[in-house]
Amino acid sequence: MTVALEARNLVKEYPDVLAVDGVSFAVPEGTCFGLLGPNGAGKTTTVEIIEGVAQPTSGNVYYYGEPAGARFRQEAGIQFQNTALQDYITVRETLQMFRALYDEPADLDHVIEQCSLGDLLDRDNRKLSGGQRQRLLLAVALVNKPRLVFLDEPTTGLDPQARRNFWALVQGIREEGATIVLTTHYMDEAHVLCDDIAIMDEGRIIAQGAPGDLLFEQYGDTLINLPHGEIRRPNLEDLFIELTGHSLRV
């Protein structure tokens, strides 16, 4: 199995806090890896070190076996947790600008269709709703046909429809062959999307593995396995979507 991304013993120290304390993991090509944890656990700092926007105090990041560098920047697509875009610029112009920064950009029409942005192309960035904005930021992360996609808490603040649609989007990206690194504090999101997860707390990984395996390790003596998809207890989010509709609000 080819390893797309590997973090080795990452450490990030600030004057008064150890934000990341020896984090290591490997992400096989074509899988979705989830980094979970409560607020302040060190997820975002870890991912920003891997993305190259923060410098580690020590440790290394490897992309397809090589230290992450120029190739990584060309082939990685990144959706940050909080990113402002330029004012007075339309969705189309934003995508065109970011696309022009890469040597081998994606087909823009495909990205637009993939992220359901067709009706928003001429809209000013300032006039996008939370869900529309997240879809645009995801599209920005996809304009370079990335082999590796980082999604940092992509559904925070979204309504249930937008959240479920975003999941479908991420699954679509994965089906196209991309490797995904997802940070989230929504456990259901990780369960739906991730092949492997790592749970972080106080800067360290405290558990790592496939979601089912981790559950079995922890609750093996009380866990009841049901046939997937046949029996499922509806929750309040299901009720909300049932009442307000499945379609994405443009």
Partner: protein, 340 residues
């Protein structure tokens, strides 16, 4: 590389041009200032300045009662031609030769020259024939002719410093720079795009404002438009580069505003935007030479008022180029994408 620079350049231009309020303010403010100063307030400095032709460094007030007049600054000059040029250019309100015979020159277009003439004649009330009025050769230079380069330069300064400094700090603060950093774009490419964008916009705006005021007020233009354009271009590069230093690391718009004002105000007061620095000491003169705006204004006035050629202003352009290279090198070296 050029494709990436072009992409950022185009996006920044669009952002600026579509911000109608800022664009309008950039166009309206300098025009309003030129008109206001030309027609409403005359815009002259508070104190009268009179040049005195003499060899000595100190003014001997016993040579003429006028030299004892309060609220007038008397500045010694040895070179008559140099002093007359300053009278023509509103840098001196009057030139006085204590004689005998006592002779004086004023610019007939200068309101303060008109009033200081009264003061001189009053001081010679007992023997007015002993004071001889001399004519200034050539067309007198109006205050609007003199102040126009100052206002254009000041507008350019504000636009270059705040237009780059504030924008980059805002990009850094809201995470847009961090997003760009996650792409193949380099710091140098980003800086080049910002400089190029601001250069294009400021040169368009300055050319538009200059053309409008020149046509409406029929301001003096003795030299070449191309030379004047080059002066503006090189000056703008220098001031944009200065703005980059301020914005290279700062993460707060409030701090950036304070730092930019710390640069703006001394530059505006000591570069000769509103009034001439005649009569200020050597220290002040030396300080003024540090500022890019001083070289821009001196060169622009030389071209517009005296018909200076490219070669005449080359030393000032050289100084501006050196300053630009220095500012850009510092700005690129200390540039930081992220907030922390």
């Amino acid at each position: 590389m050029l494709r990436r620079v072009w992409a950022i350049f185009v996006a920044r231009n669009r952002e600026f041009m579509r911000d109608r309020a800022s664009l309008a303010w950039n166009l309206i403010l300098p025009v309003a200032l030129v008109f206001g100063l030309s027609f409403a307030f005359d815009g002259q400095r508070d104190e009268y300045t009179v040049g005195v032709l003499q060899d000595e460094a100190l003014i001997d007030t016993s040579r003429h009662p006028f030299l004892d007049t309060r609220f007038v600054q008397f500045v010694p000059y040895r070179d008559t031609d140099e002093a007359l040029l300053k009278v023509e250019r509103h840098q001196l309100d009057m030139l006085l030769d204590p004689g005998p015979p006592v002779r004086y020159w004023i610019n007939p277009e200068a309101a303060k020259g008109y009033f200081i003439e009264f003061a001189l004649l009053q001081s010679a009330a007992g023997n007015p024939e002993a004071v001889v009025k001399q004519q200034i050769a050539g067309d007198p230079i109006r205050y609007s002719d003199w102040v126009l380069p100052g206002i254009l330069g000041m507008n350019m300064m504000f636009s270059c410093l705040f237009g780059v400094g504030y924008v980059i700090v805002r990009y850094r603060k809201n995470g847009f720079l961090k997003r760009l950093r996650a792409t193949p774009l380099t710091a140098l490419e980003f800086i080049m795009a910002q400089v190029a964008s601001r250069m294009l916009l400021i040169m368009l705006i300055t050319s538009f404002v200059y053309t409008g005021t020149h046509l409406l007020l029929d301001t003096r233009m003795e030299g070449s438009y191309l030379t004047l354009f080059v002066v503006g271009l090189v000056g703008a590069i220098s001031m944009v580069s200065l703005g980059l230093i301020v914005s290279a690391r700062v993460t707060s718009e409030e701090l950036a505003g304070g730092l930019l004002n710390m640069i703006n105000w001394p530059m505006m007061m000591l570069s000769g935007v509103w009034f001439s620095l005649e009569g200020t000491g050597r220290v002040m003169h030396a300080i003024s030479q540090i500022f890019p705006l001083t070289h821009v204004l001196d060169s622009a006035r030389a071209v517009m008022l005296d018909g200076a050629t490219f070669l005449d202003v080359a030393p000032a352009l050289g100084a501006l180029t050196v300053q630009s290279a220095l500012f850009l090198a510092i700005g690129a070296a200390i540039f930081r994408w992220e907030r922390f």
